[in-house]
């Protein structure tokens, strides 16, 4: 690095790095807030049942929990089945 670069490149302060990292993790954790504690286990159980019949990856099951304002919770389940392997094991 030349001397000129040293003056040009404004080094990012560690505080601004901390702020960036916090904003990301806090937003991520807030989005999960309010979802029931059993959700990860529920996802695992559903995956195990599906695996009895079809070979699927662990990331093929997508479970979304949405709490609407008027006491209505929606559990959305999305399973991506592989194209070639639909017959039972």
């Amino acid at each position: 690095m030349s001397l000129l670069d040293y003056f040009r490149s404004e080094k990012k302060s560690s505080a601004s790095l901390a702020k960036e990292r916090l904003q990301i993790i806090v937003a991520h954790e807030r989005s999960k807030r309010g979802t029931p504690d059993y959700l990860p286990q529920l996802k695992q159980d559903i995956l195990d049942v599906i695996r009895k019949y079809v070979k699927v990856d662990s990331d093929a099951v997508n479970v979304q929990f949405e709490q609407n304002e008027d006491d209505l919770a929606v559990l959305e389940l999305n399973v991506t089945l592989p194209d070639d392997d639909r017959e039972s094991k």
Binding site: S13, S14, A15, S16, A18, K19, R21, L22, Q23, I25, V26, E29, R30, R33, G34
Partner: protein, 269 residues
Amino acid sequence: MAKIIVVTSGKGGVGKTTSSAAIGTGLALKGYKTAIIDFDIGLRNLDLIMGCERRVVYDFVNVINGEANLNQALIKDKRVEKLFILPASQTRDKDALTREGVERVLNELKDKFDFIICDSPAGIEAGAMMALYFADEAIVTTNPEVSSVRDSDRILGILQSKSKRAEDGLEPVKEHLLLTRYNPSRVAAGEMLSVEDVQEILAIDLLGVIPESTAVLNASNSGQPVVLDGESDAGQAYNDAINRLLGEIVDFRFLNVEKKGILKRIFGG
């Protein structure tokens, strides 16, 4: 009817007990009858910070179990009138605090006091949940540092979903941010999160900023709540925070690097 205020944080070592002692003492100094309750069962420390560790006879759990009444367990402060401390028990029994027991004690205190300060233990275990459950307001103590800010956000989520006010569908717990151990020169150097940064992330009302100060350790060494040291920066910053808690509008101090005068530069200080 007393207002119940929890001093909480999630992370340990950020200054919850120091802040509980300072704010409780400050409120009593202003003439409000105040009780500070130590919820840290098994790790009692409020008594040391308040300088009354040798006067503990009965504790919070004794009162819950009916082994002592409230008047026997409350320690009256010798310096400030209208200030009382309810020490935590040193038992290792995790289930010593029952919700019914805590509610009964708080209801009894409510009639006689103006403010009840609940000094929460760190973490999100039973003791911390119990300290915040009955709160009307929460002082979220935070250091300008990543793990503390993240844990504070977690505690805010818990206040919004697991407190009695949330469960009963009442007006939500009023949340205040108290930023402690703030070092303006490190903020200026870009080494520490600024007040604005923390406020932007947590998005709650700012109650006070307490500068990192030698006065705080001196105060706990001698068992004197730091607010009694009116000369010190930390003591004054706590006093400002208490005035804001009471609804006053007070300008923020100690946010910028103090410019040393020429004499101070030469002779030190």
